[in-house]
């Protein structure tokens, strides 16, 4: 969970982008990286295969500015989406404060979305977490594609508890920062509830 350092007056939080293979988790991070002021971001690390598929994780540290005199630092991670990397996915959820579920809106990826969402629940449970207790938002990515499923259908299947949801096109950046803002807000609100 979050790490609050009173000595350096910093809050560190961990956000994980989860979702099926090729849904755009890495693209989300790449967009955030490309549009963020260099002073506010660290180096983006991608542990990927030669074909640029995420092998272990992508990592992007981000400073969002000060809140109540504390610097807020967010560490954004993605998981490898491909089904057979499940052991790695589980590990990346360690110490998570917020989760973004990135869904692929294409109608033929519906099953992959559902499988990944189910996998998220199982892996969180294995680590002793429950989605109800951590900041959680859903991003419906690839809304620009002609074969994307209707919004209400996706919402009904992937967001039954009506958590904050965003339509996105990570390639162009549409909806990317809105998603990040919502999950960061959720994480900070939870700090508030935790009472330090």
């Amino acid at each position: 969970m979050s790490f609050i350092n009173y000595s350096s007056r910093e809050i560190n939080c961990k956000i994980v982008y989860y979702g099926p293979g090729l849904c755009g988790k890495t693209t989300n991070l790449q967009h955030i990286y490309s549009k963020t002021n260099p002073d506010l971001k660290g180096k983006m690390i991608s542990l990927a295969t030669e074909t640029e598929r995420t092998l272990f994780f992508d990592f992007l540290p981000l400073n969002l500015g000060q809140i109540r005199g504390f610097k807020t630092r967010f560490h954004l991670y993605t998981v490898p989406g491909q089904v057979f990397y499940d052991a790695s996915r589980k590990l990346i959820l360690k110490g998570v404060d917020g989760v973004v579920f990135v869904a692929d809106s294409q109608i033929e990826r519906m099953e992959a979305n559902l499988e990944s969402l189910d996998n998220l629940h199982i892996n969180l449970k294995d680590q002793g977490y429950d989605l109800k207790n951590i900041a959680y938002v859903v991003q419906l990515n690839k809304r620009d594609l002609p074969n994307s499923a209707p919004l209400d259908e996706l919402t009904a299947s992937l967001n039954p508890t009506s958590v904050p949801q965003f339509e996105a096109c990570a390639n162009t950046g549409q909806g990317v920062f809105e998603t990040l803002k919502a999950v960061a807000k959720g994480v900070l609100s939870n700090l508030n509830k935790a009472g330090g």
Partner: protein, 162 residues
């Protein structure tokens, strides 16, 4: 394991820093880093100027997590000590308690034996300090005495205003 957030007060931080600064000297190390298993850098000592400590922390945590997963596959609980040998510099990584990772970077001016010896002592001291921090956190759980108990939506919106 991560059921409570880690809150480090000034005096805890000073205690931790004192231990790892001494470890740098005793082990003749280039740098010592203390990392949370979730990938956050908790403290650092030594003179490795310009090194990307944020990435170091997240990759260390990833490495520990991956080998921890391997340990379970072969029927071990964890592999508590890791050693990576390089051409010039080496990494010695140890688990401290259930939550912390101690990373020592050392070169030719030191040796694996010396590092292991010094890490053992420092590790015990650090484990004790973090046990106290944990107890303190549990005792204070639920108290509203936090700078974040009054965060407003406006505060959060301001972070994203530019």
């Amino acid at each position: 394991m991560f059921d409570t957030q880690l809150v480090m007060l000034e005096d805890d931080y000073q205690k931790v820093s004192a231990v790892i600064e001494r470890l740098v000297r005793d082990a003749n190390a280039k740098g010592v880093f203390l990392v949370d298993k979730s990938g956050q850098l908790v403290a650092e000592a030594g003179n490795m100027v310009g090194i990307d400590t944020t990435s170091l922390a997240s990759l260390t945590a990833g490495c520990i997590a991956a080998t921890g997963g391997l340990a379970k596959i072969v029927g071990e609980e964890e592999f508590p000590i890791h050693f990576h040998q390089g051409q010039r510099d080496n990494l010695h990584i140890t688990l401290i308690g259930s939550r912390m990772i101690l990373v020592v970077v050392f070169g030719e001016q030191s040796s694996l034996g010396l590092v292991r010896l010094r890490v053992k002592k420092a590790g015990t001291e650090l484990a004790k300090i973090f046990e106290e921090i944990k107890k303190k956190a549990e005792a204070n759980a639920g108290s509203a005495d936090s700078p974040f108990s009054e965060i407003t939506d406006e505060d959060i919106d301001n972070l994203f205003s530019d």
